[in-house]
Amino acid sequence: MLETQNLRAGYGHITVLWDLSLTFREGALTAIVGPNGAGKTTLLRALTGLIPYEGRILLGGQPLAGRKTWDLAAQGLVMVPEGRLVFRDMSVEENLCLGAYPKRCRGDVSAGLDRVYALFPRLRERRTQAAGSLSGGEAQMVAMGRGLMSQPKILLIDEPSLGLAPVIVNEVFSIIARLKEAGTTILLVEQNTRVALSVADDVHLLRGGQVRLSAPAADIALDRLHDLYFAREAETA
């Protein structure tokens, strides 16, 4: 189980997250939804140790303070960043191979590649092409495929639907659902609340760096979520 206690993080003097206390159940798919600037990506960056934070982050009850991003990734806390964070001057296949950099993943790189190409046939066509020359959606697929190569135990996904055609969005979400079936704990940051809700077990709604709603996905009506999302009424949750 992954947990934050009074998490406060930001950039320089700007605080983005205010005393966030959240729990993410093991083996569950938790969707983090909210409008632009709510602090969703910042939360993922703090969880992976990319930015400094105050408060505590606990993984299986153990505080993560001081743990480096690369150590966490090597142990299976893997983040799929937005597509801009691909290695632009390396080929698609080299990008994917780098996903298998942690020592425990190096054994079956070619099997991993086959799996990713089966999921995203487009990437097989473009495997020798520089990742910087791909469209936004294709770069997103590279980021996703690279994350899968890391054989994540906990997978943090940042806006997987961004820039993807609706058909491919559905494919990506079916992949995410299958990963969950396989026992991976997933944190999904998504602006598209409808698709997010369709696969999530739990939902946290962030706005202005604070939690506005935490509930099982089954208990949430989309209308209510949208009201909170756009701050159309005083919060009562």
Binding site: A74, R88, M90, R106
Partner: protein
């Protein structure tokens, strides 16, 4: 006259391959660490003097100096890396000052120990000439050229296929994304620095066995490596190789057709011309400017 020009082209090609090794070392540490190691030429010089010690003082074959050079240069690289790693703020700028200072210290240390005399190999075998068609080369030059080519292929292979090599490229390409792949950037920087040092070691021994070395050479080599890097415009190994040969040939033609006093000037003029006419280098993408 044609023979002279052909000879200059050939000599330029041979020495250019060693310039390429020096420039690739500079480019490698710049790629991963985003710092320009102004002491890189002095690392090459250090290796050259290792060869001098082994041959001139111990009376052994200068190529036996390679392990010694690797050891000495790696040690200096490691110390230099630890110093750079301690810089907390404005690393790009502060590391320039730091490495510039270290370069001066190394040059003067060599001057103090070995005096300012020019040194070169005394081996008759290495100084013997081989003819290749109408042109001639010292055996030492031919060996240096072969070794340089082999090292460039090895470097390319390492960067392409080994996990450490891929990590170096990943960190050079996107630091944040590399961290997310489980790559430790500091360890990768150290690896890139040590590989740059290894290239400098070979380049130094090569220079001693094919040409003349003296304590002031380090700084000149750093400048040459810098010129080559800007000429190439991209970090690709073939690009750096071609740019280095262009510099070597320009220098050799200047010496043949004008005067050896103008050798360094020729490189600078070439450098300025490229900066004015092709600011992205000979092989850089035209679109990426500023």
């Amino acid at each position: 006259m044609t023979d002279l020009v052909l000879q200059a082209l050939f000599s330029g090609l041979l020495v250019g391959s060693v310039y390429a090794l020096v420039a690739l070392g500079l480019a490698l540490s710049f790629g991963a660490m985003r710092i320009i190691n102004l002491a890189h030429g002095e690392l090459v010089l250090l290796a050259a003097y290792c060869a001098y010690v082994v041959e001139g003082r111990l009376g052994l074959d200068p190529y036996l100096a390679i392990p010694l050079a690797l050891l000495v240069v790696s040690a200096v690289c490691a110390v230099l890396f630890l110093m750079i790693d301690r810089i907390r703020e404005h690393r790009e700028l502060n590391s320039l000052i730091l490495t510039f200072g270290v370069g001066i210290i190394l040059t003067n240390a060599i001057l103090l120990i070995f005096a300012s005399d020019a040194r070169t190999t005394a081996s008759a075998t290495l100084q013997d000439a081989t003819s290749v068609g109408p042109v001639y080369a010292m055996n030492g030059e031919v060996v240096a050229f072969g070794v340089s080519l082999a090292l460039m292929v090895a470097l390319w292979w390492w960067l392409k296929t080994s996990w450490y090599g891929r990590a170096v490229r990943a960190v050079s390409s996107n630091r944040a994304a590399a961290k997310l792949m489980g790559i430790s950037p500091v360890r990768t920087e150290l690896v890139s620095f040590l590989v740059a040092g290894a290239l400098a070691s070979f380049a130094g021994v090569a220079l001693y066995t094919m040409s003349v070395v003296q304590p002031a050479l380090g700084h000149a080599l750093t400048v040459k490596a810098f010129i080559v890097t800007v000429l190439a415009g991209v970090g690709s190994i073939p690009g750096v190789f071609l740019a280095a040969i262009l510099l070597g040939v320009t220098e050799a033609l200047t010496v043949t057709l004008a005067s050896s006093a103008l050798q360094e000037l020729a490189g600078m003029v070439l450098f300025l011309l490229v900066l004015f006419l092709l600011p992205n280098g000979l092989f850089g993408a035209r679109a990426r400017r500023g």
